[in-house]
Every structure is written in structure tokens, then in C-alpha cells.
């Protein structure tokens, strides 16, 4: 793998994934869709971590350990975020975040 594909190719894939995720998180109205965009962004970060680990320091485990921690945080974020979406839906009957605007002055 490291001889066949250059590191910059993997990094480009990750950057593209990050930007797609960012677009999703910024443009969708549905709260669950926004969370999906955030998950895509976190995954692109993981790809970068693993790629750097594999290409630059495969004998140390740091990159993979970091990726595992990112996955942990993503899991926690998804659980709490989706619970909030459900709670909002229960009181407002909507998941479109631009309609949840009662704090607006």
C-alpha cells in the first residue's frame, strides 16, 4: 500500500470527505442530517490519523490509539445528540432546526 499509493492521495480523499461533511452540516435543515455530516467529518479526521500512522511511523501505535479515542468521542456525541433531537421533537414536533427558534430576540 505505501509503495503503491502516495500519502497525499489518501490525504486528498480525507480532505474531500471533510468538506462534504462540512457542507452537509452547514446546509441541511434536518438535525439528524447535520449529525450525519459531523460524523463524516470525524471519519475523515480518522482517515488522516491512520494514514499518518501507516506512512510515517508504523512501529508506534499512537495514530491508531488516537483514532480509537476519536471513535469513542463520536459515539458519545451521537448518543447525546440524537437524544437531544428526540427530546426536541417531542416538545416541538419538528426536527428542522431553523424552526426551533424561540430564543430568537
Amino acid at each position: 500500500m505505501i509503495n503503491a499509493v502516495p500519502l497525499s492521495a489518501v490525504l486528498t480523499i480525507a480532505a474531500a470527505l471533510f468538506c462534504i461533511g462540512l457542507f452537509g452540516a452547514m446546509s441541511r435543515r434536518n438535525a439528524v442530517s447535520i449529525l450525519m455530516g459531523v460524523e463524516l467529518m470525524l471519519n475523515s479526521v480518522n482517515i488522516n490519523l491512520v494514514a499518518f500512522w501507516r506512512y510515517l511511523q508504523p512501529d508506534l501505535i499512537t495514530g491508531q490509539v488516537f483514532a480509537i479515542f476519536v471513535i469513542t468521542v463520536a459515539a458519545a456525541e451521537a448518543a447525546v445528540g440524537l437524544a437531544m433531537v428526540i427530546a426536541i421533537y417531542r416538545s416541538r414536533q419538528t426536527v428542522y432546526i431553523d424552526t426551533v427558534d424561540s430564543m430568537k430576540g
Partner: protein
């Protein structure tokens, strides 16, 4: 052999990026969650290609097996049939597109030019690659504190999610009839409107 790996890499990246694009542009939220699962699978395959087997399995186990199920669940619980679909994007979605494309360009330039990405002496292909055993040891030695903190974080998130999503109906001491339930909900909505 190298050609084979290159072909596989191109296929996998097409899967990842294509599925990700479908996630953000599909109208139906459930379909978009399914594309998200496909994208996660592609990322797992990329990890396999990068010889991070443990991480690849963890990706499938956690992202595909747990987080995506959670997302599907949330969609099914909040799917409002009566309100219709509405617009899926904001009015100014093109602004978001512009920002994303610009960010992509900004990241891409330093990635491709000005860096040859050979920071340290590149180890040979045959040198030992750290695997599951090294990872387990690392978690119990130098990363013990982050490991414990992650455990606490998960516990807090679990408790928090339960507290936030706990339905008040489950706390009630008695079961209401459907008519009473509807009346109660109507009253709650009125209260909301008054606020």
C-alpha cells in the same frame, strides 16, 4: 501487485466519496442514512488497505453496528408524516457549498505542493507493524489515563442521553386511555403556545 492495490484504492475512494455525496444530497433521510453506512464501510475497507485491521473491525463494530443503528432509530422516532418533507436545504445552501469548496482548495494546496511527506526515515515494508497486541498494551501503559477518561466520558454520555430522552410518560404512575393522552398532549401544546 501495485497496480491491483491502486485499482482497489480508487474503487474504495470512489465508494467513500460517492456515498458521502449521496448522504448530503439525498432527499429521503433514511436513504441518506443508508448511504452513510456505505461510506462507513468504505472507510473500514480503507483501514484494511492501510493494514489497520483492528481499527477496521472497530469501525464496522462501532460506526456501522452501533452509531448508524442509533441514527436510523432517531430518524424513525422523529419521522413526521403529517408535516411533509419541506425543504431539505437552507435558502442559502450555495454559501455553504462555496465555503466547503474554498476550504477544500485551502487544504489541498499545501497537501499537494511544497511537501514531499517524508518527515522521518520511511521504514521498510517488512518492518513490524503495530497490531492489536501493541494497542492493548498501549492502552494499559502510556494511554491509561486517556483510556479511563474515555470510559468516564462514555458513562456520562450514556447517563446524559437517558436523562435527555427519558419520556415523562414512563414516570407516570398510571396508564392513560388514548383520549386522555390526546387531551393531555393538546393541553401541553397550548401551554407551549402561550409561552
Amino acid at each position: 501487485m501495485e497496480l491491483l492495490i491502486q485499482i482497489i484504492f480508487v474503487l474504495i475512494s470512489t465508494l467513500i466519496l460517492g456515498a458521502a455525496v449521496m448522504v448530503v444530497r439525498t432527499r429521503n433521510v433514511i436513504h441518506s442514512a443508508l448511504w452513510l453506512i456505505a461510506s462507513f464501510f468504505g472507510i473500514g475497507a480503507l483501514y484494511l488497505l492501510l493494514e489497520a485491521e483492528f481499527l477496521a473491525i472497530a469501525q464496522v463494530l462501532i460506526y456501522v453496528g452501533a452509531i448508524s443503528v442509533l441514527i436510523l432509530f432517531a430518524i424513525m422516532l422523529t419521522h413526521n408524516v403529517t408535516s411533509g418533507e419541506g425543504h431539505k436545504f437552507y435558502q442559502r445552501w450555495w454559501l455553504a457549498l462555496l465555503v466547503s469548496l474554498m476550504l477544500f482548495a485551502v487544504i489541498l494546496v499545501p497537501t499537494l505542493v511544497g511537501q514531499d511527506w517524508t518527515i522521518t526515515a520511511r521504514p521498510s515494508e517488512e518492518s513490524a507493524i503495530a497490531g492489536a497486541v501493541e494497542m492493548g498494551t498501549a492502552f494499559m501503559r502510556e494511554y491509561l489515563l486517556p483510556f479511563e477518561i474515555a470510559a468516564v466520558l462514555l458513562l456520562v454520555a450514556l447517563t446524559g442521553a437517558i436523562v435527555i430522552a427519558y419520556e415523562e410518560r414512563a414516570q407516570r404512575r398510571r396508564i392513560l386511555t388514548l383520549a386522555q393522552e390526546l387531551a393531555l398532549r393538546k393541553q401541553q401544546q397550548q401551554n407551549h403556545a402561550e409561552e
